[in-house]
């Protein structure tokens, strides 16, 4: 039963979906504060390379090294996000141009590749990597075992993050303030919320999440460093935020959905069915376009749509 194609695809869908989930949660935080960051792919790659560097260089037992490596990846992602934050919040540059420039600067042929070369990280297997853990000894339980109880620690951490982000946005005062900043910075400013500070904080948090998402690749999924390791996951994460209507709980569903589509061609191939993998790989993008079209019709937009001030710089004098 646990070898049926559905279980296999869902189990690896959860694994493949986890980096998407981390990155999408981060992008969601940034977008909820009104900052669109198209640099996710770049931040993920820098997180992946620095996390891998940390795990290769930090001595000590594997567990501690891995935890520290994830921390390093988060810091690296946040450092890259700081460039974007400074350009778009303080200097009010175009968020689109800055985000794209960030991906080009940090991405596949840029900083991450430079760091990988300079720190001699290529062609070496990771000294430690996250392994699936057997939770409560239930890994062989029918159906749910492989999907829910036999994943890496990062998967369980991501679940905690989803709950934390959802509670933060919905139940706390700062969370309410962020949503205000994203919907209407003028109104937020009028009640004394520091718009720039909130936007900085959430853009940086978004970068940290993206860095951890990148580390999911270099420390768990494919524990090594190669240029362009993330293979476009950053763009899927941006799509995912829209797909999930800017809600963390739906991000989780969407991430596993998209992750399963990535896993499906391999599972089919193993069973001798050959389908062009491009068909499945293209689905996340096509579905995002469809969702966008649905969301952009009038009523749906007001109900579920993007934060009102997404992508717009806030200039006090222009109120």
């Amino acid at each position: 039963m646990n070898n049926s194609i559905l279980v296999v695809v869902l189990a690896s869908g959860v694994a493949y979906g986890t980096p998407l989930l981390f990155a999408a949660l981060g992008e969601l935080l940034a977008e909820r504060s009104g900052v669109l960051n198209l640099g996710v792919e770049g931040m993920m790659l820098v997180g992946a390379v620095m996390g891998f560097w940390a795990v290769q260089r930090i001595g000590g037992p594997g567990g501690i090294a891995l935890v520290l490596a994830v921390g390093v990846a988060a810091l690296a992602g946040a450092a890259i996000a700081l460039i974007h934050a400074f350009l778009v919040i303080t200097l009010r540059a175009s968020q689109i141009v800055s985000g794209l420039a960030l991906t080009i600067f940090a991405g596949g042929a840029g900083l991450s590749s430079y760091l990988g070369n300079d720190l001699n990280l290529a062609d070496a297997p990771a000294r430690h990597a996250f392994q699936p853990v057997d939770v409560f000894g239930l890994q062989d339980a029918p159906v749910l075992g492989p999907i829910v109880f036999h994943q890496t620690a990062l998967v369980y951490v991501s679940w905690v993050c989803v709950v934390a982000v959802a509670l933060y946005l919905r139940q706390t005062r700062p969370g309410l303030n962020v949503r205000a900043v994203g919907e209407s910075p003028q109104a937020a400013d009028a009640v004394g919320i520091n718009v720039a500070r909130y936007r900085y904080a959430h853009t940086l948090a978004g970068g940290a999440f993206a860095g951890v998402g990148g580390a999911c690749f270099s420390l768990a999924l494919t524990p090594q460093w190669v240029d362009g390791l993330t293979g476009g996951a950053g763009w899927i994460a941006i799509a995912l935020v829209i797909f999930a209507f800017w809600r963390p709980d739906l991000c989780l569903v969407g991430a596993y959905f998209f992750g399963a589509f990535q896993a499906l061609p391999f599972a089919l191939q193993a069973r001798g069915v050959t389908v062009a993998p491009e068909l499945f790989q293209a689905l996340p993008y096509v579905m995002t376009v469809v969702v966008l079209v649905l969301v952009s019709s009038g009523i749906a937009k007001r109900r579920l749509g993007a934060p009102g001030a997404l992508g717009l710089p806030y200039v006090r004098e222009e109120r």
């Binding site: 200097l91 689109i96 600067f105 991405g107 042929a109 900083l111 941006i238 966008l292």
Partner: protein, 340 residues
């Protein structure tokens, strides 16, 4: 002392020059920090970069090779931005341009150059425009934000490219030669389909000259015609344009098609000038991200078509230096368009 940044009410003339120069300087400064932190001498590195990009033997030729696609994608982004449309899909439209022009080149295999080359240009432009019309249509009739849709379609276009060469027996795929049995490749185009070049010490590809022609064309279109005027009014104030009775939907379709056609022309130039076969290898054409860099080029040039030529040449040089020095492809990246 507290520094406050205030928005200028009017943009003085010197600022249009100062901002791109300032951004470039800031970018170089930031990269110098990275270089220092990793134990390199920034001054020596920059001297090597300049040497490799513009001064060394054959460097200018290679720089033009890198600059040509950036010229087209930069012009494509600049053309759309005049109407406040963000066409991030230059990358995908460029891929479609390569598919269209390769199809034209293969269909007309045996024909002489003066017939094949215009057909390749037309094929590339038509395919790029067609792909750009998808987000344009969604924007015009469903008011769907074109930024994300055009971005998503880049990946779809890339996957279509992979499919044509790697996972199907399409018209473009070479199924006969010996090397194709080892690794899937596209059919090679005939010699007549190779675009001519000009010059010997510095080789100027035909595509670069066509790009300069396109830049002049865009300038004339936007500065001297009624169409261009209406496009700018719609971009600056959609409401005023509606009261004046301008047809916004049609303009969206036309401008996006124009932008896509220019990016597609860049794809045709890739086939005709440089690659001579449909290149689907992820480490080939797709690794360069010309479409994305083109947006940065356009932004740095402040969407002025003539400045795009200059900036494309500069960034082409830096990309060339980056690959020559095996260093990072850094400089084309960090460019924030700062509004003073």
């Amino acid at each position: 002392m507290k520094v406050r940044i205030e928005r200028r009410l009017t943009q003085p003339r010197w600022l249009t020059v100062a901002v791109p120069v300032g951004s470039l300087t800031a970018a170089f400064g930031l990269i110098a920090v990275v270089l220092l932190a990793t134990g390199h001498n920034p001054a020596a590195t920059y001297r090597d970069v300049f040497e490799a990009a513009f001064a060394a033997n054959g460097a200018l030729t290679q720089t033009l090779v890198n600059a040509t696609p950036l010229l087209f994608t930069g012009l494509a982004a600049a053309a759309a931005f005049r109407m406040n449309l963000f066409n991030i899909g230059g990358e995908g439209q460029l891929y479609f341009g390569t598919i269209g022009s390769a199809a034209a080149g293969l269909l007309l295999a045996g024909q002489p150059g003066p017939i094949v080359i215009p057909a390749m240009i037309a094929g590339g432009m038509a395919a790029g425009a067609a792909w750009a019309l998808v987000p344009a249509f969604l924007r015009a009739f469903f008011s769907t934000n074109e930024i994300i849709t055009s971005l998503m379609l880049n990946y779809v276009a890339g996957l279509i490219l992979t499919y044509l060469i790697f996972d199907s027996h399409s018209y473009w795929r070479d199924s006969e030669s010996a090397s194709a049995a080892v690794f899937p490749v596209g059919k090679a185009l005939s010699d007549a389909a190779s675009w001519p070049t000009i010059g010997s010490s510095v080789v100027v590809p035909l595509g670069f000259l066509i790009g300069i022609g396109v830049a002049i064309g865009i300038w004339v279109l936007y500065a001297r015609t009624r169409f261009g005027f209406e496009v700018q009014v719609i971009g600056d104030s959609p409401r005023a344009a509606r009261y004046a009775g301008m047809r916004t939907r049609r303009k969206i379709l036309a401008v996006m098609a124009l932008s896509g056609a220019i990016a597609g022309l860049g794809g045709a130039s890739q086939i005709g000038d440089f690659r001579h076969t449909l290149d689907a290898d992820p480490k080939g054409l797709r690794a360069y991200g010309y479409g994305y860099t083109g947006i940065v080029v356009a932004a740095l040039a402040r969407y002025n078509p003539f400045a795009v030529v200059l900036v494309a040449f500069l960034l082409g040089g830096l990309q060339n230096a980056g690959s020559t020095l095996q260093g990072p492809d850094f400089p084309s990246g960090l460019v924030g368009r700062c509004r003073g």
